[in-house]
Amino acid sequence: MKDLGFSISQSRTIDLDKSDLSAYRRVVEKVPSAKLCLMCGACTATCTARNHTDFNFRKVHLLFRRGQFEGLAEELDKCMLCGKCRLVCNRGVNTRAIIYNMRIILENLNYKSIK
């Protein structure tokens, strides 16, 4: 079949009542603008990392929001924090700060001095 660059997603169910939503709450606390995201994907279209690989901020954000953390830490490592996405977002979402906070939560990256 000709590859048109998109495909049909597998059907799946996500039970939000069983997901851990606390991590996302922590992100929203730090970056209130996260709530404004309408998942348009403009950020992903401009992404420097996306230019090289299938890294997709919109998707990572959505998975994190739903508490599906599997493989996310490795995925987040692909972002270069270049900030392009923040500048294109029409909703004024501080995308870069969301990534940065998700990274700290998922990878447990600590500051040297702040305990």
Partner: protein, 604 residues
């Protein structure tokens, strides 16, 4: 007998102070990193030490820098620091002359008038007493200013003054008491024995003779106790900056570098802050966005007392306005950066996925636009036009598959990740064996200059275009468009590039704003602040835009894609990058290929 039990609090306090201060100095110097220690060893016996001593006199005692910024505030600091210093020195001389030995008890100079009741019966006695009274008067006037500053800072030309910690409050209150108590104690003794100078004798006359005999001893006791309290609180209060600044000035003159990691030098810088509050007034987060609890003075205080919060470390544009104004010369953004740095995970590599870019051989110039420049395609188009007009043999390195320069990661403290990107880009750049790297983004420029180890020089396009114009490789049409120039933080304060853009803009009608060069404002778009709310960010932008377009220039010129992007959406003026305005005014001259080749070799 030159002894009385009331000298005990003073003596104990002074011993404690010296003990703690020297212990701290020892610990900090032991914690310097290898490079810093090397610089100390290298330069300790050199002319630099003499220069440092001069600076110590100028800054730690006279406070010349504060004086330049704000004369009243400078006088306040000088009268307290230099005045007290002289009071101690003159007191010591006086006591030595009186006792006839250099090794009189140390408290004699401090409580001299109590013990030397027999007037001025020694050489230069009158003159020294006059000097002491005069110094006391100077200090008291400085103290009066300090009290006014505390009560109403705007009277001293300060918009904000710093909030205090507990130790500060103890030290400050005792400091307020020390000199008035000294005045009262000396005056009371003078009223009893007539051994005062113009000040103490006059005040002494006002004291009713019925009270004086009973008030004398309690006053001397109170004076001694206030000294004790001040000395004991000093090492834990802001006043620790008094001894620490001396060490800081020495180390700085010896060439110590703040470095990437926390070290003893960081502690020395943190302890050298006098909490003068000048950085609060310099910060746009304060005067344009109304946030007044994250500025450098609070960052430094919290870092010192180990109570730093995420908010204070990260809510900062890293614009460098505060370091530029700091009279102590603290490298505030670099220190803040040290605290942002995350722990590295040994052996981990990032960004393995990037597709390798083949570097193009045989070019003279590599052009690296940078991520942000890709969001302002007009800059890229202009640069291409300029390269072509000048007949440059160049390669556009990140035209298709670029990776970030690594600085945005670094500013957020992801040093390991940042270094991985540096390795990737360095490999591509170095293998091209070109003669020059040109970038359009000040962030990338700073990164290339500071973090990379490249086999070729780096230029920001402002420098490059200036060179092309100076060499006559491109020429501009005469234009009388009025332009105002905005210095991007990373290019101006960050990399000291001020003249080149102005030289280019001489071809237009350049007008000055109130915020030129070191004093330029941040556009608000800084990537360094991942906390700032968009609404506040826009406030900062609008304030800056308002200031820059006050005189209604036709074009607001800047030299950073991020600044351009911020300002464009402010809709106040036409905003252009310097490359755009140059490209738009190029005079096209037909040239022979041959001559182009020759000139090219000169420039690169």
């Amino acid at each position: 007998m030159n002894y009385h039990p009331f000298v005990i609090p003073f003596t104990v306090g002074a011993l404690f102070l010296f003990g703690v201060v020297f212990y701290k100095f020892y610990a900090w110097i032991a914690a310097l990193d290898r490079k810093q220690k090397f610089m100390v060893k290298q330069n300790i016996f050199s002319f630099k030490t003499i220069r440092a001593i001069g600076e110590i006199f100028r800054e730690a005692l006279v406070h010349h820098n504060i004086y330049k910024k704000n004369p009243v505030l400078g006088y306040m600091h000088m009268s307290l620091a230099f005045g007290w210093f002289l009071l101690i020195v003159v007191g010591k001389i006086k006591a030595s002359l009186y006792a006839g030995t250099f090794f009189e008890p140390p408290w004699l100079g401090i409580f001299f008038n109590f013990f030397a009741v027999d007037g001025h019966a020694f050489s230069y006695g009158e003159m020294l007493t006059f000097t002491m009274d005069f110094l006391l008067l100077i200090i008291l006037s400085g103290l009066a200013l300090a009290i006014i500053k505390r009560v109403k800072s705007s009277l001293l030309g300060m918009r904000k003054t710093t909030k205090h910690s507990r130790f500060d409050r103890i030290a400050l209150s005792s400091l307020w008491f020390i000199f008035p108590l000294r005045l009262m104690a000396e005056s009371t003794t003078a009223s009893l024995h007539g051994n005062g100078g113009f000040l103490t004798n006059s005040v002494g006359h006002l004291i009713p003779s019925a009270i004086a005999p009973y008030a004398e001893l309690p006053l001397w006791w109170a004076y001694s106790i206030s000294l004790f309290v001040f000395f004991v609180a000093l090492p834990y209060s802001r006043y620790m900056h008094i001894p620490t600044e001396v060490v800081l000035i020495l180390l700085r003159n010896w060439g110590a570098d703040t470095g990437e990691q926390l070290s003893g030098y960081t502690d020395i810088q943190l302890n050298s802050c006098s909490r003068c509050g000048i950085c609060i007034d310099a910060c746009q987060l304060n005067f344009a966005a109304g946030i007044s609890d994250v500025q450098s003075v609070y960052f430094v205080r919290d870092a010192r007392y180990k109570t730093l919060s995420d908010e204070v470390v990260n809510n900062c544009l890293m614009c460098g306005r505060c370091s530029n104004e700091c009279p102590v010369g603290l490298e505030l953004t670099l220190v803040r950066q040290q605290f942002r740095n995350k722990q590295e995970i040994p052996g981990k590599f990032y960004y393995e996925y990037t597709e390798p870019v083949e570097s193009k051989a045989g070019v003279d110039v590599i052009y690296y636009a940078g991520c942000m420049t890709h969001l302002t395609p007009s800059i890229i188009i202009s640069m291409k036009k300029i390269f072509e007009a000048a007949g440059v043999n160049y390669w556009f390195m990140d035209e298709d598959k670029g990776v970030c320069c690594g600085r945005p990661l670094r500013q957020q403290g992801f040093i390991q990740q940042s270094k991985n990107l540096v390795i990737k880009n360095s490999r591509i750049i170095n293998s091209a064996r070109a003669k020059l790297l040109v970038t359009s983004c000040p962030i990338c420029y700073k990164s290339f200059r500071e973090e990379y180890n490249l086999n070729l020089p780096v230029m920001h396009h402002t420098e490059y275009i200036e060179g092309l114009l100076a060499d006559g490789r491109i020429t501009l049409n005469a234009s009388n468009v009025t332009v105002v120039y905005h210095d991007p933080c990373e290019l101006g304060r960050g990399a000291n590039i001020y003249e080149q853009p102005r030289n280019i803009l001489r071809n237009f009608s350049l007008i000055e704003s109130d915020y030129e060069k070191e004093n330029s404002l941040c556009c608000g778009g800084s990537l360094s602040d991942a906390i700032l709310d968009l609404r506040l960010q826009l406030k900062i932008r609008d304030h800056a835009l308002g200031e820059l377009t006050k005189d209604k220039p036709e074009v607001l010129v800047t030299a950073c894609p991020l600044c351009k992007k911020s300002f464009v959406h402010g809709n106040k003026a036409r905003v252009m990058d310097i490359a755009e305005i140059v490209a738009g005014n190029l005079k096209v001259i037909a040239r022979k290929k041959q001559s182009v080749r020759k000139e090219e070799l000169q420039l690169v």
